[in-house]
Amino acid sequence: MDKSLHVVLMYLLVHLGLIFFLYPNDIISSSDEGQWLPIAIGLLFHFVLVWIYMKGLSFFPKQNIIHIYSEMGRGFAIFFLLPVFMYLMLVNIIGVRAYSEIITIIFLSNTPSWAIIILFLSISGYLAAKGVEVIFRTGILLALIFIPIIFFVSIASFQNVDWHYLFPLIDDDFHFMTTPSYMKSFSAFIGGFLFLGFTAPHLTYDRKKVLIAAALLIPFFVLAVYIPVLTFGQGTASRFMFPYIMTVDSTYINWLMFDRVTMFFILCLVTFIMLHLSLLLWMAYQIMNHWFPHQPFYSVLPFTIVIFITSIMIIDWKTVERLLWWNSFLQFYVLLTIPLSIYFIGRRRKGRT
């Protein structure tokens, strides 16, 4: 069944959730000037990998990556899918922990983080146990309600922009390539598209439409970095944990009855993140289900319990940052090998027939 709209909206939501929190800080601290260059390189990676991934998947209509690998043999499947499974669990743990901490830093300063983690896990676990259709339908609902708010806030955040901060435009050395924070910023560039390979045979989509969605995201990737830089200047913006949130916080909208628009903005993004987490849980279930067929409930529940316990054990933000850094290696490995291997398997099979 063609469900391009579902997939496209999901693609947008997942990435929007990734863009606005950690990514601006990563880019701003990786380069002092001319931030468009690291952004452009990241986006290039994004487009190339998504294109290769979808091209590879198009050789196997009605098959997801689990089917593709298991057709190649049991060892093959374990070799590729086990890292993916580990990656999904790790991203889930870090995601739950990082975002619960972000919420305490930004607004719920008195709430203990375990309560926020339970909230995250119970909602996304419930969605994941209900299956992929439910997740994608929820996506449509969230998109309808919240994307206008995101849009409004993005426009409002232009309020204090000083275009002179755009200069200097060119950073003559490429030292940002080697900084850890630039590596971490890739979780926003390449961390969100893995699900495209899992949706078949439940949902199928038009490749071109997904690429259009990726193009729609370009302004958000640019704005999330440039609005803080243009408002505060690089020197000040690099001192903030969450530069974009700070910028939204400093916009003053006289006629709006709400004093802090930031709250709406953050809550919208948090729902997107919950959706992303549920998608990750569901993907992990799919891999488990392939080896040991069972009901989704029986694997989602242990997953959430494991994630809960592990994320409770992470005590401070420093550990979260270290885990993010370690995870970036696994992420590069998974998100480079999967699209490329799918593409080559597909090419080979096409050549054979």
């Binding site: 002092d32 000037e33 830093i105 930004i106 607004f107 719920l108 008195n110 709430t111 309560a115 339970i118 909230l119 119970s122 419930y126 000083d162 002179h164 901060y165 755009l166 200069f167 200097p168 505060f232 200047g233 020197g235 000040t236 001192r239 700070m246 916080d249 400093s250 003053y252 006289n254 004093d259 802090r260």
Partner: protein
């Protein structure tokens, strides 16, 4: 059938999770100050808070004060002593005593930005008199709502174009920026009016270094293309009302010397005349008056090496390493050319020279 109890359980659990009543304090158990005064007394912060206290029929305003090593400590002490918890969420104006502003409020401002309890949109103001007497005068004369000070700076209420408007985040930005300083309004409690506006304090790296008067603040606001709409300018020949302003800048950087040509385009309407001046006379008179005033102010600012006008912003092509020295090396060398172009949009109900 088996799933119904499970669903019920989930619904029940979410009732506990989703109500948001974690460590909650109801609004009647919270105090929401709107003005905060900060002074320094022998290495201790002295905090004054103005808290509107809604009674059954009337609104009362309470002033509470406390000292502590840090602002949070003082607020915490106050919270402990009071019957309700203090929530700085709605602080709209932060009044800093002049002495503290001169010593430097860098840590104070960073603290506000870090803890996020005070909104980064709160206005920062310098008090010319002691914070103690400022607050007690404010309380004696203030209206029952307790929002006088906030209204004074509100663009929809009492603000006028010769008052600088600077928010916490802007002060924070100026501390870490290479090319930008801020002006904070200086006020004291007045005799007939509640507040007396005395001009602006020039803050460089979080420290007050210079003082400028109201008329000069107007030029700064005009320079930043804030609307100067409604300001009355008095000259020998006539009195005019400013109804519009725009700026144009041209910057050049030749042989390590920055040059800037700035043009202020003003639209005015005529209010009163003295004698029979011509259109041209009025314009030239206004142009010279403003240009002289600007040049005087600029010399003063350049001497204090504080870039309130944000002129460094027009020289962003200077490499970053050099830009770090903007205030100390390049800014004092800056050659500034300021021109005013006045357009008299209309002469009112009477023809010029008609009376």
């Amino acid at each position: 059938m088996r799933t119904i109890p499970v669903k019920l359980l989930i619904i029940l659990c979410s009732v506990f999770l989703l109500n948001g009543c974690w460590d909650t304090k109801d609004i009647n158990h919270r105090s929401l100050p709107i003005v905060m005064g900060v002074a320094m007394e022998d290495d201790q912060y002295n905090i004054h808070l103005q808290i509107p206290d809604p009674g059954t029929d009337t609104m009362q305003v309470r002033i509470v004060s406390e000292t502590g090593e840090t602002v949070s400590k003082a607020v915490d002490k106050l919270s402990a002593d009071m019957e309700s918890r203090i929530d700085l969420l709605h602080v709209k104006v932060i009044v800093i005593e002049k002495e503290l502003a001169k010593e430097g409020g860098k840590d104070l401002i960073s603290g506000f930005m870090r803890a996020r309890e005070v909104s980064p949109k709160a206005l920062v103001v310098v008090s010319d008199e002691e914070i103690e007497s400022f607050f007690s005068n404010l309380n004696n004369t203030t209206d029952p709502q307790g929002t006088t000070l906030f209204d004074f700076f509100d663009k929809d209420a009492g603000w006028s174009p010769q008052i600088a408007l600077t928010r916490v985040w802007e002060v924070y930005r100026s501390i870490h920026s290479f090319t930008r300083d801020v002006a904070l309004p200086i006020i004291k409690s007045g005799d007939s009016t509640v507040i007396d506006h005395l001009g602006s304090a020039v803050i460089k790296n979080g420290r007050m270094v210079e003082r400028i008067d109201e008329e000069e603040t107007l030029l700064i606001n005009a320079f930043h293309e804030e609307s100067t709409h409604g300001k009355v300018e008095v000259m020998e020949e006539a009195t005019v009302l400013i109804v519009g302003n725009t700026m144009d800048h041209k910057s050049r950087y030749i042989d390590q010397v920055p040059y800037l040509n700035s043009q202020l385009h003003l639209k005015v309407v005529l209010l009163e005349t003295r004698g029979n001046p011509t259109d041209k006379e009025i314009r030239t008179s206004l142009e010279t008056q403003l240009t002289n005033r600007f040049n005087e102010m600029f010399t003063k600012l350049q001497e204090s090496k504080a870039d309130v006008l944000g002129l460094g912003q027009y020289f962003r092509e200077i490499p970053r390493e050099e830009l770090k020295k903007w205030r100390s090396e390049h800014y004092p060398k800056l050659k500034m050319e300021f021109e005013v172009h006045v357009v008299i949009r209309n002469e009112g109900q009477l023809k010029l020279g008609g009376d």
